[in-house]
Symmetry: C2
């Protein structure tokens, strides 16, 4: 029986969610370039290019900078599986969904997880963070630099300093920050950072960029026994991507082409310019939301630049607003979940969308949809955002 | 410091290795179609299309047919991690590299691995296979249907029958067979099959198609405790792809688009027609190799159709022949490894390359490169292959 299906024809979306986000045409074009083999010298050149380009977005001199063949969640599992040895004490800073997921993975791999818990939307002050680490004396510490479920940015320097005092390694989840705001792996003192491709890097999902400090690499090499996971075993991956190029798995060549192109586009723009562009879009959007009369869930100075969490106004059904945005404007915005379900919107403004034109279009659409659901704006979101751009020059 | 790199420009290759293999332009085009979000209704429609299309290539009525967000090796780890429970007896039919990898994963996940070992290039006869399973009485059995390291095809029916007699589940590695030759999951009695996208499906690497029998699904649901892996936890993946669409990870949308298109192309050709096309290419290539005077490593009737392992003639350096094929004809052919290093070529003839024109071009190039390295052909490879195609009509 011959099978017949309509041709692939996805609806056109403006992806203003937490990710995946918009991808530049040049990245799609690279991704559809005919592949070479997974042991071809050309492929390993692409791996080297990615290594060098990743250093600049991660803010590191780490030679061990590579992409894991899975999505950001695979990056998280790689970090936990390789460094949370069975029985080890693993301290997790827990103020959102992704911290919970790290904790769950830590338990599955047999670590003894201890948590410093805060409400979703709060952050950890330097003193209390350091105090927790000094008291617990763990072998491994994890924090989420950009918590996608809440919109909180957590500077990790105090955490890392305290961790190193007690001899612990530091894992940072940089899934949402990488490429859109400064991650600063070396300056912060992060030993293991992982990320994804579909947020700040403006690439389709499929790979998890990762970097290891020399100290993390030393611990990895000294590890007694292999980790449970074979697919995400960093020692085996290192032997494949570096040195002898010993066959491990068949790397997703097309995704590597796409990542190289996305990183090259960032390098051409200049990583600092890109961060500044995201910061402007963020401050303009926040000004617009506040002018409309929406409050931000996260206090100023603790917000992720490329993932905004305005609170849903009283009496408004966020799902209805989001459905309207999608149906009438092709704009995808996500809602909160867990304790923030119905309480916040999650609005990603990244990559090609982080421009004045797109921020204004989003604010206009947001205002119209909120009005249609019965909300009375306090003032003009557009005017407030335009003022931010005008002031920035 | 602005970074400057040459534009992506991979060399053009004719991929006659074991995989990745050639990809149709329509698949590249689908892969570079602008993405939607990972929770978009359109994405879940693509997931449903893939589910239905996979049933036909797997030869199954299993509703649980999906793609894992990693390469074929991630598919293998998903099978082992979810079904080889700690302490369980896990019987592995071991006659090549991929059986060794399954064994290694089984040990890492805490199973008690017992092996029936054979030399690389041999297969298991029905009687001895069944006898091994009946004697060991394992909870789980694994065999590699198409062993890419050797070229052996292992019919699994006797293994599956014996396994079910003793109450064991059956894992089959169909990484190289899927899409190029009949896998026949239901007829064979396979409970858990996994594969990859970059071989018989003519897609870039990046996903691992997988299917579970109702019995496997029942055992999965009855499993006490979660598997170590979170990223490859089938219960969580099922909740994401089916029913409630509960967020798990951000699926690599572009790879799903590509897989849907590749499977649709197969459905349009007709899966039996495609198998027949691969079988013809295989028999023509083998006739050609034997006419030239090369012996096949695997006995007739036990060979994979889309991955041929002619023996390297005495006195010939296979690496030199392969380097010449690549440099002079842009043709990638791989060598043997492990006990077969230097002893066989591994020649994949799949997808767009499985045509008379391409088989003849490969034979001509092979003959020229063998001659250049000092080998004297016995007869004409081209004539022998043409005769096969002529006889097939």
């Amino acid at each position: 029986m011959p099978v017949s299906l309509p041709p692939l024809k996805p609806p056109r979306r403006l992806l203003f969610g937490p990710g995946p986000t918009m991808v530049e045409p040049r990245v799609y074009s690279a991704m559809s370039t005919p592949i070479v083999g997974h042991l071809d010298a050309y492929f390993f050149q692409v791996v080297e290019d990615i290594r060098n380009l990743l250093k600049s977005v991660f803010g590191t001199a780490n030679d061990f900078s590579m992409a894991i063949s899975g999505t950001g969640s695979a990056g998280m599992e790689t970090a936990v599986a390789n460094f949370a040895e069975p029985g080890a004490k693993f301290a997790v800073f827990a103020n959102g969904y992704f911290c919970d997921r790290i904790s769950e993975m830590g338990r599955r791999y047999g670590a003894q997880v201890v948590r410093f818990e805060k409400a979703w939307g709060e952050w950890f002050a330097d003193e209390e963070a350091a105090e927790f680490v000094r008291r617990e004396k763990p072998q491994l510490v994890a924090f989420v630099q950009a918590e996608t479920s809440t919109g909180v940015f957590q500077p990790g320097k105090a955490i890392a300093q305290a961790a190193h005092e007690v001899g612990a390694l530091v894992i940072a989840d940089t899934v949402t920050s990488l490429g859109a705001m400064p991650v600063q792996v070396d300056q912060t003192g992060i030993d293991i950072a992982y990320s994804c491709t579909q947020k700040g890097l403006s690439c389709p999902p499929g790979l998890a960029p990762m970097t290891l400090s020399p100290l993390a690499l030393e611990r990895l090499r000294a590890r007694s026994g292999a980790p449970r996971t074979w697919y995400l075993d960093l020692k085996l991956l290192d032997e494949y991507y570096d040195g002898a190029h010993r066959y491990h798995h068949t790397a997703p060549i097309s995704s590597f082409y796409a990542l190289r192109e996305a990183l090259l586009a960032i390098a051409e723009e200049g990583v600092e310019n890109r961060w500044a562009r995201h910061y402007r879009a963020h401050t303009a959007f926040v000004a617009g939301m506040e002018a409309l009369g929406l409050a931000m869930h996260v206090a100023e100075g603790h917000r992720i630049w490329n993932l905004n969490t305005p609170r849903v106004p009283d009496g408004i059904d966020d799902l209805k607003v989001r459905k309207r945005l999608l149906a009438e404007y092709d704009m995808e915005v996500l809602g909160g979940f867990g304790p923030l379900a119905g309480k916040v919107f999650r609005v990603g403004i990244m990559g090609p969308l982080a421009t004045e034109e797109n921020v204004l279009a989003l604010l206009d659409a947001f205002e119209a949809c909120l009005r249609a659901e019965g909300f009375q704006p306090k003032g003009s979101g557009r005017a407030a955002a335009e003022a931010v751009y005008a002031a920035a020059g």
